[in-house]
Subunit: 246 residues, 2 copies
């Protein structure tokens, strides 16, 4: 029986999503809880993708296989009772046997939160990036339009990226202000390592007036990481939603 | 020279405000930063009052005396550079020599945040109280009106309270909903130990239908802690503002 779970986690206390020996990770904690439910049997979970140190998830998705006959609505309760307070299973549903959290994913949505108060805000220090300097939202919006479409995003991923094919499609890029916050929202076919953080870092430089919006086209064409902007802090980044068929 | 500072802190990482040997406290961290600025000289700070373990502050106020000639606008920067990320000095101003953060305070404002989503929210676990059960806001509002005024609040403070005089004046009590959150706001002449948390705990029982709004009058009259409701978690509590003359 294959189960699809939606999980949210506060990334600030984890060494990222992926299981690593001796480190506190999201996968490690969930697999430990599943092992307890399965009386010591090791259950492997497969997520839609990794998230980095300090990066949060509102709607990460993973699947696992089980032979336990627990009613589907009891799975979140059973897991949440065993999980630490910074991970919360939001939903569990029966999935087809060929459902795969990573390979069946059609689109992903990431959001990035930035706040602009003059003094840093103790309550948002793990949840949004503090950027008190002036920013022109309109030029950021103009620049964001050049990101939309199917492009080779070599310039916008960490030079450590091992994935061969760096072509991705960005379907949506929205930027909005709310109070002293700016939210960046990206929906795409997939995202490369550090891609959202470099996109936001580059858009911020446009908003500061250090780059022209049109430069985005040249940066994409260059296929050269050094042409794009800085990688902003992971603390403002949220894996917001993973989209599947149906 | 007496300096008045406004400070915000995230209470979740502290054993409360008040300095205690061997424990991480807000007062301890600020006094350590001040000692560094004063080249090893111990500087004592005096706050408007203590806050408990896990309780937050948006606008706590403290004062201290110094002979250093640092321009007033540099004080927050100098302190914030030395302070940990969960304390942030918002403002510093020159105060009269007879200003006293505690004795000069005229009113205090506390807020309490509660959230109602079915599943717990990892991002609010330290910042709001999770209460998913149905609540009737209107009966809570009706009950809150009986709190306003000058009363002996013996029933609404911890039985460990050492203060003799338990008469306080509540000037304002507001309750509002925003999304899945309910905020309780109290402005009063002063608050006894655990007073806001017991007030909120009792109002919640009214909202659940376990008590009638009018019971508040009898609970106050009884001057008996056991007559009031539970002390809710400190994580939803914020010392929001301290009011002084001028």
């Amino acid at each position: 029986m294959r189960i699809k779970c939606t999980v949210s986690y506060d990334g600030s206390g984890f060494s990222g999503y992926q299981r690593q020996p001796g480190l506190r990770t999201v996968q490690g904690e969930i697999e430990e809880a599943l092992m307890k439910i399965h009386k010591g049997e090791r259950i492997k979970i497969t997520a839609s993708g990794r998230t980095d140190v300090g990066v949060h998830a509102v709607g990460q998705v993973f699947h696992f296989d089980t032979s336990l006959k627990i009613p589907m609505e009891k799975w979140p309760i059973a897991l949440n009772t065993l999980l630490p307070q910074d991970i919360s299973i939001q939903n569990a549903e029966l999935a087809d046997q060929d459902f795969h959290a990573r390979f069946s994913a059609k689109k992903k949505e990431y959001r990035y939160r930035l706040y602009r108060s003059f003094q840093r805000d103790v309550f948002r220090r793990h949840y949004a990036y503090h950027f008190p300097n002036p920013l022109n939202i309109e030029t950021i919006r103009t620049a964001s339009r050049f990101i939309i479409g199917t492009h080779d995003f070599t310039s916008f991923c960490s030079s450590k990226t091992e994935t061969e094919n760096k072509v991705r499609t960005i379907y949506e890029a929205d930027i909005w202000e709310e109070g002293d916050e700016i939210t960046f929202r990206f929906v795409g076919s997939g995202f490369l390592y550090n891609m959202v953080r470099i996109l936001v870092g580059t858009l911020i430089e446009v908003g500061e007036g250090k780059r022209k919006p049109e430069e985005i086209k040249q940066i994409i064409a260059a296929k050269d990481r050094s042409r794009a902007g800085k990688t902003v802090s992971g603390c403002g980044l949220y894996l917001w939603k993973v989209y599947y068929d149906n």
